[in-house]
Subunit: 301 residues, 4 copies
Amino acid sequence: MSITVSEQPLAPAGSAVADDIGRLVVSCQDGPGIVALVSAFLYRHGANILQSDQFSTGSRGGRFMLRTEFHLDRVSERLPLLERQFEFEVARRLRARFRVRSAATPTRVAIFVSRHDHCLLDLLWRARRGELPIEVVTVVSNHPDLERDVAGFGTPFTHIPVTPRTKPEAEQAQLDAIAGKVDLVVLARYMQILSADFLDEVGVPVINIHHSFLPAFAGASPYERAKQRGVKLIGATAHYATEDLDEGPIIEQDVVRVSHRAGVGDLVRRGADIERAVLARAVDWHCADRVFVDGSTTIVF
Amino acid sequence: MSITVSEQPLAPAGSAVADDIGRLVVSCQDGPGIVALVSAFLYRHGANILQSDQFSTGSRGGRFMLRTEFHLDRVSERLPLLERQFEFEVARRLRARFRVRSAATPTRVAIFVSRHDHCLLDLLWRARRGELPIEVVTVVSNHPDLERDVAGFGTPFTHIPVTPRTKPEAEQAQLDAIAGKVDLVVLARYMQILSADFLDEVGVPVINIHHSFLPAFAGASPYERAKQRGVKLIGATAHYATEDLDEGPIIEQDVVRVSHRAGVGDLVRRGADIERAVLARAVDWHCADRVFVDGSTTIVF
Amino acid sequence: MSITVSEQPLAPAGSAVADDIGRLVVSCQDGPGIVALVSAFLYRHGANILQSDQFSTGSRGGRFMLRTEFHLDRVSERLPLLERQFEFEVARRLRARFRVRSAATPTRVAIFVSRHDHCLLDLLWRARRGELPIEVVTVVSNHPDLERDVAGFGTPFTHIPVTPRTKPEAEQAQLDAIAGKVDLVVLARYMQILSADFLDEVGVPVINIHHSFLPAFAGASPYERAKQRGVKLIGATAHYATEDLDEGPIIEQDVVRVSHRAGVGDLVRRGADIERAVLARAVDWHCADRVFVDGSTTIVF
Amino acid sequence: MSITVSEQPLAPAGSAVADDIGRLVVSCQDGPGIVALVSAFLYRHGANILQSDQFSTGSRGGRFMLRTEFHLDRVSERLPLLERQFEFEVARRLRARFRVRSAATPTRVAIFVSRHDHCLLDLLWRARRGELPIEVVTVVSNHPDLERDVAGFGTPFTHIPVTPRTKPEAEQAQLDAIAGKVDLVVLARYMQILSADFLDEVGVPVINIHHSFLPAFAGASPYERAKQRGVKLIGATAHYATEDLDEGPIIEQDVVRVSHRAGVGDLVRRGADIERAVLARAVDWHCADRVFVDGSTTIVF
């Protein structure tokens, strides 16, 4: 007689998150009593802290950062009031920057890509599975190659060609395509350098994946240079894009071992797996409000 | 003025492999002179060794295994003759089992899957990129869920429902669907146990991915049991399927760190990344003739 | 002309920790307002929270655990009062178990060992460097082999032979050697099973290092069995010792990749590096009050 | 009744290696028939190949490298003859460089160190355990701090102070201390830059451990710079020392994950574990004739 294994249920989709988890992130100058103040506020307003992380860059004169997940029934509809109350009761006193939102609200994302598909497809696939708390509003590419793949996910695809001569107009078209519609831009192996003007205008954070273990091999052709230098590990780095190319605050990095047998083509292939994994983690953490920028570095809770 | 980074060329597709690389695998009882015999044969027939691995389970009475990649112009058309010559000049003398083939010939694969898409999609995507030396002949599933995804890759999809009562007929239908058409069956999270009869009849190796770090948590619900036991790492294991469930020779394993914060659902999600990576490596190595079975273990060159 | 690199200062010794960092650990049934209550207490008594971790096994009816590091001048001399105040003002209300102590006070440790030196020497070396917040009070061994090595660290060494017949007396001698003098017993490859009576009597936690990736290969000869099973990774597990051999709550685990080329002797050698690393981390975390036992599992902050 | 676990035997000491394993390393311009020629030579002289690795940097005009371990009774006493025969029968024909030696002959090593003990002690400890195929002839230091630790291992310790003014004389004293007595110099966190003259004169390879993941953070204070740059992994690199500081061929690298919580002191401590592990592996591989230098890179079998 044959035996049938009971099949494990599929992972629950992210879209099914009930609307009773809120997230509060706060940053201010460090000093005594901040946690007491914030936790008393949440208690007073009926929120039960589920998880909390905090970090200070120095107990005197440093910067204090806090991230709290709390339970509160129907948190979305209570957000506007809660926000005003926190501003009035806590933030003014601490001169703090803060943000409060429902964990059920996905981050709206535009993905920029050129012709490499691995990072793009991994993000789209994870979003569809409910693994990433994002809604991919549009994919923008300077090449038409990946249009069909993107269509398979039901996501809009905008092809905006870029040449050195037409770059200003192309960047304007990119800005028009995403203005007011997204909370985050992800450069998923987008092989054009965005101008300082674009970064200024876009008004939302931009996450880039660099195909090396920065600061090693910053700039172009990192795998070729890794091969020449004979390194034993290759890596990838997800960072916020800034005007200083490849110098923005690092969110996540990882590496993989390679041997002398691997040619440059093999490094490119092995690296692709690291790139997509590192970028997916960085996007996940950013969209879960886990990443705080502190000067040229990040704190990741 | 704007700067444009020159875009790195895409990784070359596997289908573009020129037909001048051959692979020879040999196994026999260990003894002196085997390497000399084999390498002299290749030299005599104009083949230049590019890479060679060998292993012996014991210098007296052990088993000797050898894998060689060699350069030989138009290797495919010369294979039939080369095979007869090796049989006559080397294999008989060593009482060796051997196989010689062109690296450009892909392995024909049937993928069995239930409803989890991660392993399946990763194999299809890698095959399309030319990262795996395989041709996916068909996808067989006991559920219709993944038909559309598979269609997007242009791969045939065969839906064969399985119930405890209809299992014998279902397995016969599966055998009919793949008989003579494939060199390998990959169970990419196929949640039915294949009968001993099926494994007997199928006539080609069957690779399974198990969602735990075997031998820990063999059997059903490994992530639940990993959570209960409080392990700090979870893993996945790719192995050849044998009659003894979860006991077949292990090809590849890997693990990922988890914390107390991760619930069972998180383990399932984190585990999915390890599962697809481990299975892709196992399939790659098998199809590149890198895996030798030695009793209940494997040698992987 | 020759150039001289300025030499990097050595890592500061742990013994130099100033007496102004305190640690508070609390566990109780989960419910609203706990963080507010604890943080208000600390603020009221002049303590500034430096770092805080918390976890709940379930927001309704689960177990809540909290660990806080705080700054408070001359914390050691203020501890007795602070402890009574916390008992009165917080712990009674929450029916909480708690512990407060100065980070500058090292944990007093007895290390039990047989003849393998790697875990023992690593702990002694890290303690001397100030890397572990411990004071090794004594080393107890059923063999005399390692006496000279231990003497080199200026640590007392007690040789207590154990045979099946003399085990009860030997265990009594062990208890006498450490009674009231230690806060922790570390089994650093101590190859005797401690009796239930011993574990009952000893009155302090006992940490063991097992030379496999539990629950795989529980029991004796794990490396031999790993070799036979053909696993691709071997590991080590640090856990609290309980009556159920190799079943105690796991504190830390790690693995290392091995190949078919490695014989059992190689696995033993490679494994030794993992064992000492895993044990050192587990001891560090335990002594820094980072480990909470929750049934058969642990929470590690 | 009490149960006693049978204790696992200790790893066999390296000094106990029987004198019947030889190693042959060959490098020459690539071309057809090399493996056939070498393996026929070994067969003819009664040697049975146990393990063999080879690599070519390109099948036409590239460099071919081969390493073979073989079984041959009383290999040490037969070496002089075997060497002459290989020169005459094989090496001249291939214009090859080669080396043949007994695996039982340890590499004679001088360890240079300043004040950090971790790499030094780990090498001495592994040598004593028989884990490294080396004989530490002497430890040379520009500081007296570690003399007592070294004495505990019965190894000679030579204190040669170095100041910018006395560096030439100091280097001459170092050369005098090791001339003709060692096959390898290991810089185990030796914080002085060796002059080009020293590297010229020393006549044996010099392996250095750099406390960063090169090429990132080459030069001084890598941990400080890693902290400033906010990298998520820190590493260490073992490489052959050349005139170009931190630019020599890399033998081995590894990394460990760090978080924002780790200060520079923590990075130094975590890094120490990686440094000693990476250096031990590099020394092991070099002394087992596994490392071939190819321009600015290495091939490691």
